[in-house]
Amino acid sequence: MSHNNPHDLRYTPSHEWVRQEPNGEITLGVTDHAQEALGDLVYAETYPVGKRLEVGDPCAVVESVKAASDVYAPVPGTLVAGNPVLAKTPEVINRDPYGAGWLVRIRMESGSDLAGLLDAAAYERLLKEGS
């Protein structure tokens, strides 16, 4: 199974992607591999704006027909936005996981960065080892 994982993003072993925005925020979503493994998504819920997040705290839930999966914060910070289109059209995560299917924006705590996350090549190696 080949996946098109953009090279300007960072990745987590739990199949989230992270994009550094110019204003110190990050955008978070689930990877193409994750959406495919989950199957048809029918529900997505993001945690409330203003929620304080430590690394590993759940910040969204995505549900396929079959199962619910938590999505975790990869950095400490504050949740500043949830994708408003997901309530009516969660299937956008299947169609466009790296674009219109983003989940939340997080304002990173000062002093933290994305250095501990995987680049695209490392994430793809992880997928290969796992399959």
Binding site: G39, D40, V42, Y43, E45, V61, E63, S64, V65, K66, A67, A68, A87, K88
Partner: protein, 367 residues
Amino acid sequence: MAETTPLYDLHQKAGARFVDFAGYLMPVHYGSQIEEHLAVRQRAGLFDVSHMGLLDVEGPEAMAFLRRALANDVGRIGPGRALYSCLLNERGGVVDDLVVYALGAERYRVVLNAARKGVDQVRLAGLAAPYQVTLTPRPDLGLLALQGPEAVRALAAFFGDGLAGRLGALRPFAALETEKGFVGRTGYTGEDGFEIALPADLLRQAFSVWVGSGVRPAGLGARDTLRLEAGLNLYGQDMDETTSPLESNLSWTVAWDPADRDFVGRSALEEERRRGIRRTLVGVYLPGPGVLRAHQDLVDADGRTVGSVTSGSYAPSLGFSIGLARLAGERPAEAWAVIRDRRHPIRWHHPPFVKRGHILVPAAAGR
């Protein structure tokens, strides 16, 4: 190492994603569970259910044995008919649910759940000892389920026009042995359809012919959402050895008459009936957003737990979530499902939710 069915490579070619189910690598979907579900409701779909256990029961006392072993009464069906029944333990708990086909006066074929067939066969063999009967597992036969409103029209592609005509004339729960396999007008989707038992070579041929003629292969994912919309219990989730059929919406499958038929579990069920049945299995749906899942609690207006969801899913035909739930006692007028620590109002609905393409849930709900 999980087992596979004779269709494994054909599933791969059709784009299947596999899941380990009861020790078998089975297709969970072939790209989109929702599209497969809707294909079965609107046109036709094809399921490989060869992981299920086929067991032939033959001999002069085959009927007497099954009338002892099963809670429903095979004495009620003649050759060419099928019957749904529970196999109970002595305490009235459900060991398995099954379909039994009468092939002839002294010949029956039983279809068992994949996860239970080993347990069932041991139990049935024990019960069979006093009877002149032979039990023969049939791992040489695979099983296909051709389901959907266009299933009848699809028959001819594999069976040819003459045989397809005879099969299309079968009534629901009727069956026919043919030179190209054993066919019952049965299924687990709430739609019209057929289940076809075939040896491996014919099984492969039938699968290829039907998929080639446009019948959509459908996986266990769609099978689960279809059966839930149809209000059909799944063994191990909605019932097990600790629940009786009377608590599981299956009273209609217990044949009390004649009163002297001493089936396994009868005295326990009679005792339960005398004391009054407390637990029930009910249908629920979520009119708002969210998804019901097994093991979520249901609470009343005072926050007391009144039961829990046994099967829950998004319902592709409906666009919202439905479920089955076991209640400990009285059904309150209002109840909520607890999903990730938040309460979501639910509504009661006596299943089925969808039957033969018709939506039976009254309220317009939606996400």
